[in-house]
Symmetry: C2
Subunit: 418 residues, 2 copies
């Protein structure tokens, strides 16, 4: 799995004055801010956090599908719009959310100021559309917080070292929030979303799926790589790298969500796993007569993120997202070696930090699949994950059976993390 | 008539290299960029100007009614949204136009870059919603022009000395264009709009109204003050102050429009006037027992722009825009002196630099009104204007008759300015 590089977020937390009120970063996604009424609810939520004594920085996404609409317009103007101009265009959505939310907060009688990514001091490299944060110059945020204001930061964007507006790519607002939490030494980064937290499995496939109370960064990374969509890999990596506690929770309820943090002993009490994830959006390639080094050089040049890799003799098997299939196919074609692709498989993963000390997990997982008559095609493991490909039509049955076999259907799965 | 202050635009034209290609500033208003197809037409027009050898800076407004829509949303969040946040919100429209237009220009195979007001170096004071330009730091524009790029600048906005996004108020994109033309030493500032140029009268009232080929800044100021809406007073003031030649023309045709420039002898060949304008959007106040100084102090504090003023004995008569009527009423109420207001009058003005040397103009104008049985209520004059109020129901007849009396219905009116 090609994980993104760590982003260089200078940790200025050390400057935090002891005894000063805690800082919390709250991030609200597109569905949470879609429309005037929802924005007003977000404003109330932010004000409540402020009233309970926190210094509050809120990172907002664009309203609903607004960004997709700008992208569509850009492509209407040209089949290949240049990334610099697309960034200039699509970065407006988050500013709209932030200024409207500031107005709503003022209307509630509180002080707030909206800042663009640039004003918030989020400095990136010049890779438009997928920029990496290289520095955070949080002077204006600190000034506003010191002046007792709520600070609203436009997510997903920054200003490049060439003084152009950049965007951080998919899931960019999560990245903004985590980076700011790191830079400000925040007590937590709260990710508000349209689900209750991180689930033991996709509830559409496993009706008995349960919300997890807490998992480790590593487990969250494996769940995300395995198909869980609640958080982007990149923001979890960044949180792990800077030890930022994440709290994934619902915008629409006050209930606790899922904490993602350093592994601690409480998480390891039982042998059980944290969740079962799956994806049917990957294809599996087989390539012959090629060195691993050469293959990955070519794929990296083509911008293909490679997942599961297995090498046996002269043959290399790897998977990649369907969305990058065209690039992968084209890259392989340039190598002049035999290759094939399968699009009829899906990936099922079980993830749990507890499996490190309980070697029986793999045996139980494969016995479960055998009982169903499902033959795993390609198996890969990490210390906290077991993943395998199975026919796409069997994915749901496999997920359901594994979820039951590891007792995730019951309350017990939660208690182990409580 | 309270004209706006001059804005301080440093003239860096002196730096222009002799022999270098001329710079032209082209400004496109909201209707010119409303929709993908119109933006594409604007892109073609800009490219044509570039292909004929100019260095091109284009200033764009927001698409259609987009800005009004943001303002509506802001007021939905709060009855009194703060100006700083409204500026953050409404400044996005021009950025959208510019980035989409840059994409369209790229698609035509040309180089272009979009710049926000801030990136273009438009520095303003901190009066959100009605900011004045205090400096133009055009380094990025120069760099882009030197790199043979077309430069697209988001109109109507700048960055304040406090590093916040500001907007310049109504007609702000015209102001941006004129200020840039001054700072860049441009040969001309072309204002593209949805009419053919400046007309001798409103064509909806006078079907025989004709497009003027050229008028002086002073005439344009009087026409604008008298009700002509093609250009805002402020941008004409700025153009006059910095000697920027304006060319008001249609986005939808290649025909020449109206040049607005220093008065020259050709404009004065004949005694005739340049145009007849009118407005029915002013109210007339009468105030007793008050000094002019005290009255205008109070009105200025209330932000009321006062037009026509006549003082006779203890009575002061002045007019103000209907839009500022509530403020004017409230201000007068604080004075504790008798006052009244009439909303049944309209103002008719005839404007022409030629009348300075032809004293018969006023006599002819009032004779014309007398023939119609219209009694002028309040008369004010300047060296190049005669204005009077008449009953609103008589405004159109008065305008039509004056237009004919001064032979503006015929081609001759145009020849005098050619």
């Amino acid at each position: 799995m090609a994980t993104p590089e760590y982003e260089a977020v200078p940790e200025i937390a050390a400057k935090a004055t002891p005894g000063r009120a805690g800082t919390v970063v709250m991030k609200f996604g597109g569905t949470s801010v879609a429309g005037v009424e929802r924005l007003r609810a977000v404003a109330r939520r932010i004000v409540a956090a402020r009233e309970s004594g926190n210094r509050v920085v809120a990172v907002l996404s664009a309203m609903g599908d607004m960004t997709d609409e700008w992208v569509r317009l850009a492509h209407e103007m040209s089949p290949h719009p240049r990334p610099r101009e697309v960034d200039m265009l699509i970065s407006v959505g988050e500013r709209i959310s932030c200024s409207l939310c500031a107005i709503a907060i003022h209307d509630l009688g509180h002080e707030a100021i909206s800042l663009t990514g640039s004003q918030a001091g989020i400095v990136t490299d010049t890779a438009h559309g997928k920029a990496m944060i290289v520095d955070i110059r949080a002077r204006r945020i600190h000034e506003a917080l010191d002046a007792e204001k709520i600070v609203l930061v436009a997510g997903f964007q920054g200003v490049s070292t060439d003084y152009d507006i950049t965007t951080l790519g998919r899931g960019g607002s999560d990245t903004t929030a985590v980076a700011l939490a790191a830079a400000l030494g925040a007590e937590a980064c709260e990710i508000y979303t349209d689900v209750d937290g991180v689930q033991t499995a996709d509830p559409r496939v496993v009706p008995k799926a349960r919300k997890l109370h807490a998992i480790s960064y590593e487990e969250m990374l494996e769940l995300a790589a395995g198909g869980a969509k609640v958080l982007q890999l990149r923001s979890v990596e960044l949180a792990r790298g800077h030890d930022v506690k994440l709290h994934v929770r619902s915008s629409f309820s006050d209930a606790d969500g899922t904490w993602i943090r350093e592994e601690d002993e409480r998480m390891l009490e039982k042998a059980l796993i944290s969740g079962v994830t799956h994806t049917i959006e990957e294809r599996v390639y087989r390539v012959d007569d090629i060195s691993v080094a050469r293959l990955f050089e070519v794929l990296a040049e083509a911008g293909v993120n490679v997942d599961t890799v297995v090498q046996t003799g002269d043959e290399i098997v790897f998977s990649a997202a369907d969305a990058e299939g065209a690039e992968a196919d084209a890259a392989l074609e340039t190598l002049g070696v035999p290759w094939s692709v399968r699009e009829d498989l899906g990936k099922v993963s079980i993830v749990g930090a507890g499996m490190r000390s309980h070697p029986g997990v793999a045996a139980k997982a494969f016995a479960t699949l055998e009982e169903l008559g499902i033959e795993p095609q390609i198996v890969t493991t990490s210390p906290i994950k077991i993943a395998c490909f199975v026919p796409r039509g069997e994915v749901e049955r496999a997920v359901q059976a594994l979820h039951s076999a590891f007792e995730l259907d019951t309350e017990r799965a939660e208690r182990q993390h409580a």
